[in-house]
Symmetry: C2
Subunit: 311 residues, 2 copies
């Protein structure tokens, strides 16, 4: 079993601690805020109980929890680590300082991975001696429920680092994918941005309400996308596969999206969308609904595992 | 119970027959190809058996099937109908001729709805006496499994027609949404087009493989979108809701997508994507995989109903 250091004990750091500990690795959790890591242990226990309830861990929460250790210093957390998963603020100066420290304290063959969603590996690793062992392993919140991990190396990240990170995430039950070249937003947020920009425009130009647009996805498009990707979807939607689909619909889709101007997300448009959302979900129920979302995700993951063990 | 005429007995027409018949309406099915409607009855029986297996109909298939009647002529099918769901070829001349006939044969208060995904209501209804009772009710394939229905009226469709169509689809268990103004692709295919265009570009420019992009959706983005729309998703992803999300990420998303050139779906790019898909799924398994998709959809719908009766 490996020794995994998790740096930062916020939502993402706690979720990663669960991911690695339930796969029987030992987790060394550090947070530079005084006693934050110790406090995080209690929240992690709650997360493990929730997973247990949905059949998503086999051991008891207390057994898994015993493999998670709160550390007093970064040095203590990483000095014997095989792999570091960093989860500090989305701020380049902070990332550079943290990775500089990690490069100093971690053993020379330890991989240094960041959970960042906005900062490219090349920006926080360029001047480090150990820059060949740095990369991004970007999760979707929360990673102990949603399995995708986007692995995005810098041009100088060595192939062993990439392969070992890929294999580690695969072995703990996550679904790693490789972002071959650095690109803002990686893959997932670029796809989300493309769809969202059109969604905002359709509401801005009053073609549809916020509620109806959401239904179009959750009772239509999103049902397929919960178990097939967009390419698999269109491949199966034409008798001759994706080439046939492109021949049938490619020009119509291109025409549909040509000359489309996407509005900026500000001013009256934000008020319009925010207003419609608050009619559907008052702020008083916002955090309750976040818990609902996580339960729904756990139920869906349990359903996918149960019904389709081979997927 | 209402009398529903279904015109065209292809995949969509057969699926609509199931939708209305399982909701206890009588369905009158016509196809201008000789004996096609009679043959369709057998295929519909298979569809009903599949639904029964997943607990998605309560009655036995044979009981539901008794409410579906193959008709010898369009006149016979529609002469006493309350609602017509048309499913002929995606060709404007054909749609215009069919709707002209429907307007002639159907009772004056009967609604005339088309399943078209590409032809606006105003184009096939403009010159009809009964154009006020025409609209599009666009399903996603197959509508007896996927519940979304996009209702897209012409400027001259009267509000009673829109409301009655909305209520009918809601009452049979579909999820109707209103497209307030005509727009190519309606809502669902525009959202799909936006995401697909970025997906094709990311593969074209070699940021990611087809398989990894699909994983990004089915093991990431698509899990949420199976039970939440994109607005609900971002509303719950920022403590202050969608306005907070816009303030945090709006400019990053806009920047991410600015100056992006989307390639046309042709030539070597089609070969690249088709080639990667055929490595994953050889053509010999293509139709088997279509059945797999429909089973997965039925399982997912059954899961959603079972776990979340209030949704």
């Amino acid at each position: 079993m490996k020794r995994i250091a998790v740096i930062g004990s916020g939502l993402i750091g706690r979720a990663w601690s669960i991911v690695f500990a339930r796969a029987k690795h030992h987790v060394y959790l550090f947070d530079n805020q005084n006693s934050a890591a110790e406090k995080a242990i209690g929240q992690i226990e709650q997360g493990l109980s929730d997973l247990k309830q949905y059949g998503l861990i086999e051991e008891s929460p207390s057994v898994v929890l015993k493999r998670i250790h709160a550390c007093k210093s970064m040095e203590q957390a990483v000095s014997q680590a095989d792999y570091v998963q960093e989860n500090t603020s989305e701020n380049l100066d902070i990332k550079q300082k943290v990775f500089s420290d990690l490069d100093l304290y971690a053993p020379s063959d330890c991989i240094l991975a960041s959970s960042t969603s906005t900062i490219q590996t090349s920006l926080f690793s360029e001047n480090l001696e150990g820059r060949h062992r740095c990369l991004v392993a970007h999760p979707v919140n929360p990673p102990h429920i949603v399995p995708i991990v986007e692995i995005s190396p810098a041009p100088w990240t060595d192939s062993t680092t990439i392969e070992r990170t890929y294999e580690l995430h695969k072995s703990v039950g996550q679904v790693p994918i490789l972002v071959k070249k650095e690109v803002p937003g990686f893959i997932l947020n670029r796809l989300q941005a493309a769809l969202l920009q059109e969604a905002w425009r359709l509401v801005d130009e009053d073609y549809v309400s916020v509620e109806d647009l959401d239904k179009t996805v959750k009772d239509g498009l999103g049902l397929r996308w919960a178990f097939m990707g967009p390419f698999e979807t269109i491949d199966l939607n034409a008798p001759g596969g994706v080439a046939d689909y492109a021949a049938r619909f490619g020009s119509a889709y291109a025409e549909m999206m040509s000359n489309v101007q996407h509005p900026t997300w500000e001013g009256s448009l934000v008020k319009k969308i925010e207003g419609q959302r608050r009619n559907i979900l008052p702020f008083s129920r916002h955090s309750e609904k976040e818990l609902w979302r996580d339960r729904k995700l756990m139920e869906l993951i349990a359903h996918k595992r149960d019904k389709h063990p081979s997927d």
